[in-house]
């Protein structure tokens, strides 16, 4: 499918940090994406991990933090996406979220920031985690 032959002019040189929200429940995605925008982040949205990879591979888009659900339909779940990001976009931070306790245990090994955010999460906790991760990344 063809893409618009344009690019996001604000992306280059913008000081806004960019967050990619990956969530298959549209109303959850809408709420957290809206909240993050109000907090001053540029936010892109993906319905599943495959869409997230397409956005991350897009030359027009630069992503600082991926905030992803673990349980998603499709061939790749949130863990798979986290592994893909580690392998292909090492400068991009990952935060996972899940409603399942078992996933929370496994994700601790994948996320630098410790255990993942359990659903339901307060929106402010997401912002706090993003700030922690991006501050940590700047120190390296």
């Amino acid at each position: 499918m063809s893409t618009p032959s344009t690019h996001i002019t604000a992306e280059a040189g913008s000081s806004l940090q960019t967050v990619l929200v990956v969530e298959d429940e549209v109303l959850i995605r809408l709420v957290i994406a809206d909240y993050l925008r109000e907090c001053g982040y540029r936010v892109h949205e993906a319905v599943n991990a495959e869409e997230a990879v397409a956005i991350l591979e897009s030359p027009e888009v630069s992503v600082d933090v991926v905030f992803s659900d673990v349980e998603m339909p499709g061939s790749m779940d949130g863990f798979g996406l986290a592994r893909w990001v580690r392998a292909n976009k090492p400068g991009t931070q990952v935060i996972l979220t899940s409603g399942a306790e078992r996933s929370a245990d496994i994700a601790a090994t994948l996320c630098e920031a410790g255990p993942l955010l359990e659903k339901p999460y307060p929106s402010q906790d997401v912002v706090d985690r993003i700030k922690q991760l991006t501050a940590k990344a700047k120190r390296f």
């Binding site: 063809s2 618009p4 344009t6 109303l27 809408l30 925008r37 892109h44 993906a46």
Partner: protein
């Protein structure tokens, strides 16, 4: 010509244009290609619109049930059981007040009175800036001074 307001303050053209405008219109971008959706939505946000995103007709319906949308920008070639054309027809009957812009991946798509009456059609590949222009014209936004 200057006029005095009830409070005695002088009122002129400059003070009128400085008044806050109405809340930016909400636009729902429904597009199955995440990169296209991302670029179009970002360009619209950069122009001051409030933009919500949906990747399928089912997602769009969930958003429309929860949020008041003033303009629907919908691709006709959506993935899933309901394509954009079917959804646009459904919504045309349901929400007459909402403006609709259709996006087609078929360069030679024949006219369809059932769809063409809903709103303008833009053909892919398009520039995101062309979408913004079309949206601004459809919504008469920003308000003329």
């Amino acid at each position: 010509m200057r006029e005095r307001t009830a409070s005695g303050a002088r009122m002129n053209a400059a003070s009128v244009t400085a008044l806050p405008r109405r809340t930016p219109p909400s636009i729902l971008v429904v597009e199955g290609d995440a990169r296209v959706r991302c670029l179009v939505s970002d360009e619209l946000r950069g122009s001051g619109f409030k933009v919500l995103e949906a990747g399928s007709a089912d997602e769009a319906l969930a958003v429309l049930d929860a949020v008041r949308i003033e303009l629907l920008f919908i691709a006709l070639d959506l993935p899933g059981s309901t394509n954009g054309a079917e959804m646009a027809r459904h919504l045309g009957a349901r929400q007459r007040a909402m403006r609709v812009i259709l996006a087609s991946a078929e360069p030679d798509r024949p006219g369809d009175p059932g769809l063409d009456d809903l709103g303008p059609l833009i053909r892919k590949p398009y520039l995101a800036s062309q979408v913004v222009d079309l949206v601004m014209r459809s919504l008469n936004w920003p308000d003329p001074p």
